[in-house]
Each structure stands twice: as C-alpha cells, then as structure tokens.
C-alpha cells in the first residue's frame, strides 16, 4: 500500500516538475479564470430576472448556477482527456514502452498519471470560485465543505471510468475517441450545465437521468449554494458511486484487454 502510494506520488512529482518549467502558464490560467468569472457575471446580469431565479433549483442567482455548471463541467473534460492525453504523450515521446517495462503495474501508471491533471482542474475551479467570490459576490457563506469534498471525490471516481474507456479506444485505434465527443456534446445539453434539466423535453430529461454529469452538478450546487450536507445529497452521491463501481472495473478490464490486443498486433507504439 505504501509502495503504491509512493509510486502514485512519483508520477505527481514528475508532472509537477515538468509543469514548473512552464511557470508563466500558472499566471495565465489564473488570469483566464478571472476573465471567465467576469464573463459569467455580466452574462448573468444581462439575463437575470426574479422569474429566472425562481426557476433555478437553489433559487439563487443565474451567475452562481451557470458558473458552477461551467467550471465543474471542466471535471468531465479533464477526466475524458487526462488518460488518453497522457497515453498519447507517452507514446509520442517514447516513454510508454519504458513505463511498461518497469515493475509498476498498469493501474498504478494510469492512476499516477491522472493525479496531477485532476489536482490542477480542482485548483482551476477553486481559482474561478475565489475570483467570483472576491469580485462578483458569488455566495460561499452557506457552502457545506465536507459535502462539497465528498461530491468532488465521487465525481472524480465516476468520470475516471469514462476517461479510461476513452484511453482504451485511443490505444486500439490511435485516433480521437468519437464517443468522447458524443458524451461531452450530450452532457453540455442534457447535463444541466447552463440551464436546469427540468426545462428539457421528457425524452431528453430521461437522457439526463442516465448521465453522471447531471448528478454531479445537482449535488455540487446543492452543497455549494444550498449548504446541503451529506444527509441531503446522499442520493446523487450514491448514483455517482454506483457509476464509479460499474465503470471503473469495466474500464480497467477494457484497457487491459486493449493493451493485450496491441501487444499481440505489435501496434503499441504506432501513432
């Protein structure tokens, strides 16, 4: 267990060491978050009305609702990108073969490669919310932080399964995964990112109910804006954990199969 943690840590250390060589990027990303928060604030000022606020699940401002939708959607993006991007980078730089001949197991290589991107996404979200709270009155007073942390963790686990499935596709077929774009596209409409799913037609609401993004955003808004505790968000949390319980083992098995297949066909390093 300690060795596994140490191996995961060494991947984080690797990614942090590489990122340190691009220091200006941290500043640029913080500025990007500032402009992003400002954009949502002014869009919300333009469209906000008492009727709209009444229609929102937490009854708050459209600014808070849409900002949470936008920044947490980033988690899905990160999950879908992280695994196949680190795989493609390892293949392109020639490190993939050298990682695979070490004594570190494949699940640890995958987990280790995901830690830094997920942490950076979390920090980016925190910076967005910090700018919004400092400059534009984003309401943080009622936030229930233990519930926020629990929702984040469950979201990360559920989305990781989708990311590993996407990486399996890239391993086999070398090209971008069409299912990834389909999921991101569907989720942007039927996931509750910028508007509540209750305004969608019935059949799209059904799609939304099958989408882990919907549960992640519902739970996050409830915990962050509505101050809901674990006892109030247990239902979406349970759904997210169920998604994780199914997707993680399935995705690991699919990835292991895809790796075996590429070792059989000799296409592991093909681009």
């Amino acid at each position: 267990m300690i060795r596994s943690l140490s191996e995961v840590w060494i991947f984080f250390w690797r990614d942090l060491s590489v990122a340190r060589t691009y220091r200006i990027l941290f500043v640029l990303e913080a500025l990007e978050a500032l402009f992003g928060a400002a954009m949502f604030y002014y869009v919300a000022r333009f469209v906000d009305s008492p009727q709209l606020q009444h229609a929102l699940p937490e009854g708050g401002s459209y600014f808070a609702f849409s900002l949470i939708g936008f920044v947490f959607f980033d988690y899905l993006n990160a999950a879908m990108d992280t695994f196949d991007r680190s795989l493609a980078e390892a293949r392109d730089t020639g490190t993939l073969e050298h990682l695979l001949v070490t004594q570190t197991s494949l699940p640890l290589i995958l987990a280790g490669s995901a830690i830094y991107p997920f942490l950076v996404t979390t920090i980016r979200i925190a910076v967005y919310i910090a700018w919004s709270a400092l400059l534009f009155g984003f309401p943080l007073r009622d936030a229930n932080w233990p519930a926020v942390a629990a929702v984040l963790l469950a979201t990360l686990l559920a989305f990781s399964g989708l990311g590993i499935l996407s990486a399996s596709y890239v391993l086999l077929f070398k090209r971008g995964n069409p299912a990834k774009w389909l999921l991101l596209g569907v989720s942007s409409v039927a996931g509750g990112m910028l508007f509540p799913v209750t305004i969608l037609p019935d059949w799209l609401q059904l799609v939304a109910r099958l989408n882990p993004v919907t549960y992640a955003l519902d739970a996050m808004r409830a915990a962050l804006l509505g101050g809901a505790g674990l006892e109030a968000v247990w239902r979406p949390l349970l759904v997210l954990l169920l998604f994780a319980a199914v997707l993680l083992p399935v995705s690991m098995a699919v990835f292991a199969w895809a790796l075996r297949r590429t070792k059989t066909t000799g296409t592991l390093m093909h681009r």
Partner: protein, 273 residues
C-alpha cells in the same frame, strides 16, 4: 533455486497482421496475423553469458527482444527470463530485466537527466537513497556527470543514449536486453560504452546479456556466443571460433554472409582481379 537459463526461448513464433489504410485501419487490431517475423526460434542464454543477435534489418531481432521485454506477445512457442514466462508472469520477468533500445530513448525532455533516472528508478522500486547512489555510480561510469543536471532536451544524442543505458542498469537487473545500443554513439563514446559493458556489467559475472547489433567488432568483443538470424529463423548459434570453423570463414562477416546465403559485395578493384 537459480534457473539454469537466464533466457530460454523455445520454438518462438511471431506474426503480425498486415497494415491497413483508410477506414480498414480500424479493423487492424482484429486482423488475422499473416506476416511472420519469427518462425520458431529456440536458444538459451546461460547465467552470466553474453549472446549477440546478428541479422539483417527485418530479421526479427527487435521483435525477439520486445517479446522478452514483455512488450509483445508471441504467436506461438514460449520465452522465459530467469525462469519466468514472459506472457504468463510478465511482472516477475520485469523484475529481472533492464531494457534499452538504441532507436527509441523515451525520456521526459523538460526534466533533467537525474530527474528522469530518479523517476524510472522509483518505478523499479528503488528507494530514494539507493536511487541517488546508483545514479551517482552510473553517471561516473558512463561519463554522464555533466549532463545529469541539464534538461534532456539540451543533451546530445550520444549522452541521451548513455542515459538510457544508465536507466536500464539502475535496478541492477540480472538480464540485460540491448537493441542496437551503440547506434547513435560516436566512435569514442561507443568504445567507452563497450568497455563499461565488458568490465562493469559482464565482468561481474552475474548479469546475462542479450543484445542485437550490426557492429561486428562490438559483437566480437562482447559476445560469448553469436546467434545468426535471417527472416525470422535461427541459422546458427555458437561461439565466434566455432562459427568460423563450421563455415570455413576467416572473419565473422564472411561467416555471416555464408550462413545467410548472401554473396559478399565485391569492390570494382576486387572484381577486376
């Protein structure tokens, strides 16, 4: 119990599916293997022994090394490293081997040489102090001290090659697989590399070496025995002296050309004689 073979290859076969283009490339992972790269090769490398793989481009040398490194699955036969099957027990195999391919170095370009070595050392279960100790030792032996604290992207290809060899040796493997190890090295660096391999790795007697090379003096210097491969078949596997004797050749080059059925290329001067 110590196995009597560091490497045991038995009737090893490997075929690849044909390359496809356009939309058919999506079917390649499921295609039926047709092109044979290895056609039933068998040999053994004893503990502490050095065996060279000699063959033309496409003879199957790299395929063989990649199967032993657990990066490829064979189509038939078996390959064992230190008594562990490369397909059935790949993690046990990886504990025993160091792998270096001269064609593909695979480092993180923006990390320093030392950071790269530390990273791969930790993935091979070296503790931080032991990794530092091994890095310092190998850097001295391979003349890497100057490049160790510079980003890999700023190093010469020869230094990167030596760094790659240091990575393969970091965890003191019992079996070392080298694929054209001196390919990108200049004459001096290649000579120092061979000296290091001969005295510091093979000289200790506890490391077995299987390497592929096109450089005949390198093969003659480092190999206890030489395996000559052509079109996926093992034509001969013996000592240099025995190969010369059985083929009635004066040099390894001549023996190789005779065994593979290729005629030595005559120069204009020789042809006119």
């Amino acid at each position: 119990m110590v196995p009597d073979a560091a490497i045991l290859v038995d009737s090893l076969q490997k075929s690849f599916p044909p390359a496809r283009s356009g939309w058919r490339s999506f079917l390649q992972p499921f295609g039926k293997p047709t092109a044979a790269a290895l056609a039933g090769i068998s040999f053994k490398v004893r503990p502490g022994e050095s065996l060279a793989l000699l063959g033309a481009n496409g003879a199957g040398k790299s395929t063989l090394l990649r199967i032993l490194a657990t990066l490829l699955f064979p189509t038939g036969g078996s390959a064992q490293v230190a008594g562990h099957d490369a397909v059935l027990d790949p993690s046990a195999v990886r504990r025993q081997l160091g792998y270096h391919a001269g064609t593909d170095v695979g480092f993180y370009a923006r990390l320093t040489g030392r950071e790269n070595l530390r990273f791969f050392g930790r993935l091979n279960h070296l503790s931080s102090p032991l990794a530092s100790e091994r890095i310092a030792y190998l850097a001295q032996q391979l003349h890497l001290e100057e490049g160790l604290d510079r980003q890999v992207r700023t190093l010469s290809s020869g230094t990167v090659q030596r760094l790659s060899l240091a990575r393969a040796l970091l965890h003191e493997p019992r079996v070392l697989l080298l694929d054209e190890p001196t390919r990108s090295l200049d004459a001096i660096a290649a000579s120092e590399f061979r000296r290091f391999l001969k005295s510091e790795v093979l000289g200790r007697g506890d490391t077995s070496l299987l390497f592929a090379s096109h450089t005949l003096p390198e093969v003659e210097l480092l190999a206890d025995r030489i395996a000559i491969i052509d079109a996926g078949r093992l034509l001969a596997c013996d000592t240099l002296a025995a190969l010369k004797q059985t083929t009635r050749s004066a040099t390894l080059e001549e023996a190789f050309l005779r065994l593979t059925g290729r005629t030595p290329h005559l120069t204009a001067e020789e042809g006119s004689e």
